[in-house]
């Protein structure tokens, strides 16, 4: 063997050893998340859920090629895949595969994620850890959750296609792994045990015996979404009081012109959610067409935690006499006004944790046919329902989101940044080069 062949052979052996080392390093990789909020690390709850996946899961991510969410979706799913190799994903441009988007029930315009295991399909609307993990959790449940819409007391109807009906809500729930069924609490006041959650959507007639039936259901680790409305005079406070919640009659008027619909202060828009509820972060803006106030009276019950979800601005108030709208400090309540709040009552019964969750909104219209598909109303409803219903280990999933770090830029500062970055720094290089050139010429 010539000397060169020996060198070549040893080089090939070294390269093979390097390839082996690379393989080994990837097998025992470790990540250090240097971000301040650990925003690049999946939460412990997600890790727990992902590790429970034992069958292959395919995630189809539908985003247009230029959509900035496509990159973040790929990064996020890569983290899921690194946790569990049974999760595989593909990125699809819906414009190039409209039939596939339709088959999986993904809106080709807005995109989304379809999560499949065998024939079971779940969808997630946004490429966030919260939505993705919720979809996986629903997938692991193996069957759609049963949500019951109460009826018999003038509530919104899942069969009504009118503006105040709930047919759109039923479709939305079906797309998100929930099966909506109507239960009549007029003929039987007991909530069937098959209901994993109930929705009480603006009863306009007194609940009567149904109120105690709902109360018993909630006391036995029930889950409920209560949607009140200024249009109804039914008092739901007795039902809500054990959970540290209440409703204050009136109509909320928002006086900040940036936070209500044009010329309609009775339609407040919630842009940011200052809430400790885990699903509140990154919720899109939603609006409430005519809402009353939610209160959170102090109730000392062991294991109870109550948190507001959506608040209006300090310039808003609760108007007690909507026919003569002007703030009267004697009767009206100054803002900020809470429009939605959630309560979690956990207790240990015979060695098992039992949890009641109640989410109450001061408005029903945002979830009705007329307004559900406006702004982020549908996302708000689904997230609230997810929080109320999905298993305990998931409900605390709150993605470690990066903090918003605004850059205070004025025209002058932009010019300064451009001048420094694209002028001074390259200029110094040119000056240095000119100096070297001059020094060489002078020798």
């Amino acid at each position: 063997m010539t000397s060169f062949r020996k060198r070549l052979a040893s080089a090939l052996i070294v390269l093979a050893a390097l390839a082996g080392a690379d393989f080994g390093i990837h097998r025992v990789r470790h990540q250090f998340d240097l971000t301040a909020e650990h925003s690049q690390t999946l939460t412990d709850q997600t890790v727990e859920i992902v590790q429970r996946i034992h069958q292959p899961v395919k995630v189809s991510v539908f985003f247009a090629r230029g959509d900035p969410d496509r990159v973040s979706a790929a990064s996020l799913l890569l983290r899921y895949r690194r946790l569990n190799r049974r999760i595989d994903f593909r990125l699809i441009d819906p414009a190039q595969a409209p039939a596939e988007a339709e088959r999986l029930g993904i809106d080709p315009v807005f995109g989304g994620l379809a999560v499949m295991q065998d024939d079971h399909l779940e969808r997630a609307s946004t490429p966030t850890e919260q939505d993705m993990t919720a979809a996986l959790a629903r997938l692991l449940r193996g069957k759609p959750s049963s949500v019951c819409l109460t009826s018999g007391h003038g509530e919104a109807s899942a069969e009504s296609t009118l503006g105040d009906g709930f047919t759109s809500t039923a479709s939305l729930l079906a797309q998100n792994g929930y099966r909506l069924q109507t239960i009549d609490l007029l003929t039987s006041s007991e909530v069937p045990s098959s209901c994993e959650a109930i929705i009480v959507a603006n009863p306009t007639a007194p609940l009567g015996t149904a109120e105690s039936g709902i109360g018993r259901y909630l006391a036995a680790a029930g889950r409920a979404l209560i949607l009140a409305d200024p249009a109804s005079t039914v008092n739901l406070n007795d039902l809500l009081r054990p959970y540290g919640l209440g409703i204050e009659r009136g109509i909320v008027l928002e006086n900040d012109p940036d936070l209500h619909f044009p010329d309609d202060p009775a339609r407040p828009v919630i842009v940011s959610y200052r809430s400790s509820l885990p699903f509140a972060r990154r919720l899109p803006p939603a609006f409430f067409p005519g809402a009353e106030a939610i209160t959170m009276p102090n109730v000392h019950v062991s294991g109870l935690s109550v948190a507001g979800l959506a608040q209006t601005s300090p310039r808003s108030y609760l108007e007690r006499e909507p026919l003569q709208p002007s703030f009267d400090s004697k009767v009206d309540i100054p803002g900020p006004i809470t429009l939605a709040a959630g309560a979690d009552l956990s207790g240990n019964f015979e060695g098992k944790v039992r949890r009641t969750r109640v989410m109450v909104f001061g408005d029903v219209d945002f979830a009705s046919n007329a307004f559900l598909n406006e702004a982020g109303n549908s996302t708000l409803l689904i997230r609230a329902l997810d929080w109320a219903i999905i298993e305990e280990e998931l409900v605390t999933v709150s993605a470690n989101l990066p903090a918003v770090r605004p850059l205070e830029l004025t025209e002058g500062r932009i010019s300064y940044a451009r001048f420094l970055l694209a002028g001074v720094v390259p200029g110094l290089f040119l000056l240095g080069g000119a100096g070297v050139w001059a020094a060489r010429r002078s020798r």
Partner: protein, 232 residues
């Protein structure tokens, strides 16, 4: 011996107009593009700087490395160098260290972007540290690829073009694989995907290992090419 070679190459390189002009070009384009990103996002984010700087490194590092061996081979000084008892490893590593340091020095003034962020906002220091570590490791790999390209030809432009194309292929290795199935073989070699991870604020031992191994592999290939020339 390695340090002596690195010192001599550094002196030769910085006495030429190449790093000055390449540095000016690098920062002019980077400054314009990054300032546009800041205006569009209005967030104190360093993250957009790294892919821009990474792509520009693909262009300037081959220019910095093209003369490592090609110029010495063309002028005949390589034969002289190989006549003295200098082992190939020291020769390769010395030239690589010189170009890597040059690339780092050319890269360093991009820290002005951090000054802008600190003056007008409150940036997260984590991604700044990890992103610059990623750029430094990527510059090391690109410099090694450049040294390899320079070792296989005696023409500087050809060496630069070879290095640029190898780097470009590695940069875009993930494209295509992402639209089919993840975790494909090609995506593994994507240096832009590795840089993205660093830019996001993550130091992944697999990414660090990959870039170091890529550098070593390119240097081993360069040593083999130089040996082939010596033994010819």
């Amino acid at each position: 011996m390695t340090l002596a070679i690195a010192r001599k190459d550094l002196a030769v390189l910085w006495a030429s107009p190449i790093p000055w002009v390449a540095g000016a070009f690098f920062h002019f384009v980077l400054g314009l593009l990054y300032a546009s990103e800041l205006v569009a996002r209005r967030q104190a984010l360093i993250q957009p700087l790294f892919p821009l700087a990474g792509f520009l490194l693909l262009i300037i590092v081959p220019i910095l490395t093209m003369r490592s061996f090609a110029e010495e081979a063309r002028s005949g000084t390589l034969d002289l160098l190989q006549a003295v008892p200098v082992d190939t490893r020291s020769l390769i590593v010395g030239k690589w260290v010189a170009t890597w340091i040059t690339a780092l020095v050319a890269l360093a003034p991009s820290g002005a972007a951090v000054i802008v962020l600190v003056l007008f906002g409150n940036p997260d220091p984590g991604p700044i540290v990890s992103g610059y570590l990623g750029l430094a490791l990527m510059a090391a790999a690109l410099a090694a690829i450049g040294v390899f390209a320079s070792s296989v030809t005696s023409s500087q432009p050809v060496a630069a073009v070879i290095a640029f194309f190898i780097s470009l292929i590695l940069w875009f290795a993930h494209v295509g694989s992402q639209t089919i199935v993840t975790g494909s073989f090609l995506a593994h070699f994507s240096i832009s995907e590795r840089l993205r991870s660093f830019a996001a604020g993550i130091i992944d031992t697999a990414d660090v290992g990959f870039l170091l191994i890529l550098s070593i592999a390119a240097l081993v290939a360069a040593a083999t090419a130089v040996d082939a020339r010596r033994l010819r």
